[in-house]
Symmetry: C2
Subunit: 137 residues, 2 copies
């Protein structure tokens, strides 16, 4: 069995936050909007329907947990959830806090927000806020 390895592009563009039951939770390195990425730790999967039913159920609950965490921390106007993967085929789900005042609103964020990276200190603070058991149980 091939072990799970994170796609190098995801590794380069986002920060590890914590391992959930199924997915690795990561913070996308774009400071324009609070943007989480869930990467199910299953090798060779590119689309949601390729996961087992049990893994899909876990993924759905992790999407809900990530949404609730963003809602609690940022009080956004909307949560955007998307599994696209046209560029990075490894299955990963974006969970993004959107605001009627953000740079891309009401469009989707891809290609419409500047890929402005976080400062290291800001990343540490956000990870600390996110990495609380209350959000992930």
């Amino acid at each position: 069995m091939t072990p799970f390895t994170l796609h190098p592009r995801l590794g380069a563009d986002s920060f590890f936050v914590r391992d959930l039951a199924l997915s690795q939770l990561r913070l996308n390195n774009v400071k324009t909007v609070p943007w989480l990425i869930l990467v199910p730790r299953r090798p060779g999967i590119s689309d949601i329907h390729q996961l087992t039913g049990a893994d899909r159920a876990l993924l759905m609950e992790e999407i809900a947990q990530a949404s609730r965490a963003l809602a609690a921390l940022y009080a956004p106007d909307k949560i955007n959830v998307a599994a696209l993967g046209n560029i990075v085929p490894q299955l990963h789900v974006h969970v993004i806090a959107r605001f009627a005042t953000d740079a891309a609103w009401p469009d989707p964020v891809w290609g419409r927000v500047a890929p402005e990276p976080y400062e290291a200190k800001a990343v540490d603070e956000i990870r600390k806020k996110l990495d609380k058991n209350d959000f992930w149980n």
Copy 2:
């Protein structure tokens, strides 16, 4: 209890295919890519995490069913799944067959494919292909 009513914009821009356990399955009226929309028949819900856990489990399985139907009918290179809703707040999930040769690839489709509508005859044919019990059980 408020009954479920389809948002008028979703009604105007897509065609009814069938009612699944949770969601209304619709075909988006954009002929550039095969594009399904799942609308959970629950009033007052805009984000996935606002659904009950039982409804989220149903939604996840309907996403997988829609993905498999598109995979079987169109053999796409990738399935894109997204709940955005920045313009139409009623929760709805896009399930889209993507091809390395399509007009927007590898970008997301929103704002990047011409909203060219289907001819009526084509809609009837696609609905007939989609509306098979095998895909939705």
